[in-house]
Symmetry: C2
Subunit: 156 residues, 2 copies
DNA sequence: TGAAGTTAGATTGCTTGCAATTTAATTGCA
DNA sequence: TGCAATTAAATTGCAAGCAATCTAACTTCA
């Protein structure tokens, strides 16, 4: 059958076969899709994730936020400064261990939580999958993420 | 049972439940994991994707590359200029339709393909899943990506 | 104790990614 | 034909991401 010819295109360098591209491109699409709703709160997507982490538990160090989100200080420091400028968080040196900087929410930052709860609810259907599918996919991706990070760490 | 308590943490704003975060964070991990092998070729991850598209078919317009990768000229123009500076591609105005810019491979760019074939092979096991799982996940993600893009387009 | 090693965060420099705008070329249609 | 709408790239400005490096503070342990 002619349709079997497709398999001959099964090259190692075929974008159509790239799991990495599917992840990359879906991530870009996620950011673009969230943008309008987050812009209404004055947040970017990564800023939103930082706020979610802080709504879970306040008074975290930069390091603790970075561990949660797999981001380093090179990314977080300027992002946190922008959230501070926006009046959503405060940054202060830990008096006990002065290497650390503690991030806390302002009243305004705390108050934003309620409005933010509407975001995942509203985005849910944009993904176009059931809650069960989402859960399964989430678990598979997180396992893969951990594998990738482990492979980076192995290589020192 | 105590373990059932976990369900009470099933908040809408719990990072652990975020499919979007799993996608975001896995994409970051993918880029970091590919980095050492691509650096050996002198490429970044997005540059590698552009090269893959060109190895499939040469002489594409910037628009065609952007359609394949879901990237716009704001991202691609400077990236392509860097690939040109690196001696891997050429950029020339289409004489028939002078709005378009045609991207072709140089001999050097064409020659890189062979070395690049080793990359997906080497990365395969870093993902830590079978080829079957990868295929399934890829398909699910691409479907989700298309849904997200459609939801963006719907909103104009 | 005190020197070496480690850790937290900030900084620098570079490359995405994208919204918004601009320029130039082409198309469509009155 | 000829003017309005559309299209392709480029440009501008900003916010990530991250490698590499730096500084200051803490730990370790000889």
């Amino acid at each position: 059958m002619i349709t079997d010819m497709k398999d001959s295109k099964d090259s190692l360098l075929d974008l159509e076969n790239f799991l990495c591209f599917a992840i990359y491109s879906t991530a870009n699409a996620v950011t673009r899709a969230y943008q309008p709703r987050l812009a209404a709160l004055g947040l970017t997507y990564p800023q939103y994730l930082v706020m979610v982490v802080l709504w879970e538990r306040e008074n975290r160090t930069v390091k603790a936020i970075g561990d949660k989100l797999s981001l380093d200080s090179g990314t977080l420091t300027p992002l946190l400064k922008r959230l501070e400028t926006a009046g959503l968080i405060t940054r202060r040196r830990d008096t006990v261990d002065e290497r650390q900087v503690l991030i806390a929410l302002t009243e305004e930052g705390r108050a934003m939580r309620e409005r933010a709860e509407a975001v995942p609810a509203a985005m849910g259907q944009a993904f176009g999958c059931t809650l069960e599918e989402a859960k399964g996919l989430r678990a598979e991706l997180m396992a893969m993420r951990d594998n990738l990070i482990a492979s980076i760490d192995e290589a020192q």
